[in-house]
């Protein structure tokens, strides 16, 4: 394991200090916690949008803190959901009485910890709503299982719910937007090489020189299927064909596309991949309102990418276009 770190035990606290010291005018760390909040939190007469999760997904989630997006990001250990007390701190630091929306990625740990935090917050009289993002089509969805994972589509939930909150939406309205995004966003990922956990120095899975892992999540865990690496176009086609069907798009429908780098894949390759995605969408007559290419929801230094497609309606389009001051999602 070769990492630009000091002691792996200090990695989260040092990262958080490094983030806050980069953007001292727009964010601050709630003292003694792993919460990064807008400098001006709690914002008067505004619903707060709070998210977070395990670390190792940078710029998620702290990079999305800022006017027009998140009010707070709560950081857990690497790939480990933050604990309820930390989430509670994020809630308390951002609620001005207008209520708080928790945006949770659908992983057992995250769901349980946030649920407990919500219980604690409600017992302190704070109005809390939760949404659980489950955009990953690689995982089978059934009421008897854990259900789908929440992956890069979460970034759209942050952006659009954040924009609604900034526009003065009520807690119910902000949650409504988040629900709408969740219902209309689908993703799937592929890995070319695993990431290395800083704590153990071990890779999450092994891949031969000519193999890819289809349907990976964002925690270094193995994916759904190991296959031969053929070409960027083949992979783009496979991901697109998996992501699109449930959105039931008709020609003339508008979408937003995110090609998200998992960490180590050069942007050059993301664009080669994007080329094919855009061709497929164009062939189907689907109109792309906006394309976002870059690293948004990473998995440390995993190589690979994910494709996210969000079906837009007029309100979602407007919210996507709205300004954002979050350092990792400026608009």
């Amino acid at each position: 394991m070769k990492k630009l770190i000091n002691d792996s035990n200090d990695i989260i606290s040092e990262m958080l200090e490094g983030i806050v010291s980069a953007y001292p005018d727009s964010m601050r760390q709630v003292e003694g916690t792993t919460c990064i909040v807008r400098k001006d939190a709690p914002v008067k007469n505004k619903v707060a949008v709070v998210s977070g999760g395990g670390s190792g997904h940078e710029p998620a989630h702290a990079g999305f803190v800022g006017k027009g997006m998140l009010d707070a990001a709560v950081a857990g250990e690497v790939f480990t959901s933050p604990t309820p007390d930390q989430v509670l701190e994020g809630i308390k630091a951002t609620d001005d009485g207008s209520g708080v929306l928790l945006v949770i990625k659908n992983y057992t740990g995250d769901v349980m910890n946030y649920e407990m935090a919500a219980e604690l917050a409600e017992s302190e009289g704070i109005n809390v709503e939760q949404v659980v993002v489950n955009d990953d089509v690689a995982v089978e969805d059934s009421s008897f299982t854990t259900g789908r994972r929440g992956v890069a589509g979460t970034v759209f939930v942050h952006k659009l719910a954040g924009a609604k909150a900034e526009a003065g939406g009520s807690l119910a309205e902000v949650k409504g937007v988040a629900d709408n995004v969740i219902a209309n966003v689908r993703s799937m990922g592929v890995a070319l090489s695993p990431c290395i956990m800083p704590t153990t120095g071990e890779p999450g899975f092994e891949l031969a020189e000519d193999e890819v892992e289809m349907g990976v999540g964002i925690h270094g865990e193995p994916g759904i299927e190991t296959k031969k690496l053929t070409s960027a176009d083949d992979i783009a086609e496979e991901l697109t064909e998996n992501v699109l069907p449930e959105l039931e798009l008709n020609a003339s429908d508008e979408v937003a596309v995110m090609v998200n780098g998992m960490g180590a894949t050069p942007e050059m390759e993301l664009y080669v991949f994007n080329r094919k995605v855009q061709t497929i969408l164009a062939d189907k007559g689907i109109k792309v309102h906006e394309t976002i290419v870059g690293e948004y929801m990473t998995s440390l230094e995993m190589a690979g990418c994910s494709l996210t497609v969000l079906k837009l309606d007029d309100e979602l389009k407007e919210l996507l276009d709205a300004p954002s001051k979050a350092p990792a999602f400026r608009k």
Partner: protein
């Protein structure tokens, strides 16, 4: 045979010893079917438990377990944090104000199982730590003896039984059939908890 507060502290210290020693092994198990952090999570949490318990005096078992629960809850995170936190919290509540004999302990484990199921929205047979806690309760309610070796044995065979299961809850569920053939990491750490209890009871 009863468990007193001092023993309860020893139980947790012994658990921590085992977890520290097996941390890499637990992470390796989690790497096979999860995200590879279970050992790290548990080691961080139980070290904090030992540190906190060592600095305080406790009147009864319930107080020890309560302190354990809150420490785990704020130190572990992930899935294991809320689950172990809930299990110890339920055991603390059930043992409040009473001596911990075989019957009380059976009730404590019953409450823990209830708590785990509720918190994890899960059942037996889904390849989770419940598959250690629940069979243990089944065995405990059949006997009035507080038999450490028996507890260890049942926890051990239950832990082993998770190997053949297909996970439908937790991270391992994403692997579906591929999760078969691997022990569930949370069940293995749960086994250490009961192995530590067994040793504590046997030392008296």
């Amino acid at each position: 045979m009863k468990l007193n507060a001092t023993q309860a502290v020893n139980w947790m210290i012994k658990t921590n010893e085992k977890i520290q020693k097996q941390s890499d092994y637990l992470s390796q198990l989690d790497r096979d079917i999860g995200d590879g952090d279970h050992g790290i999570n548990m080691a961080r949490g139980f070290q904090a438990v030992e540190d906190t318990l060592s600095n305080e005096e406790f009147a009864e078992v319930s107080d020890v377990l309560k302190k354990t629960a809150t420490t785990i809850m704020s130190k572990v995170g992930g899935a294991a944090g809320p689950l172990y936190g809930t299990a110890f919290q339920k055991m603390a509540m059930t043992s409040k104000g009473t001596e911990v004999d075989s019957e009380t302990f059976s009730n404590m484990v019953e409450a823990a199982v209830e708590g785990l199921k509720q918190r994890g929205k899960s059942e037996e047979g889904e390849k989770t730590m419940i598959d250690v806690w629940s069979p243990l309760h089944d065995a405990l309610k059949e006997t009035s003896e507080f038999d450490g070796e028996k507890i260890r044995e049942i926890a051990h065979s239950s832990m082993e039984s998770t190997k053949d299961m297909v996970a439908t809850k937790g991270r391992a569920a994403y692997l579906k059939e591929r999760s078969k053939g691997h022990l569930d990491p949370g069940s293995v750490s749960s086994y250490y908890v009961f192995e530590a209890l067994s040793e504590t009871l046997e030392k008296g």
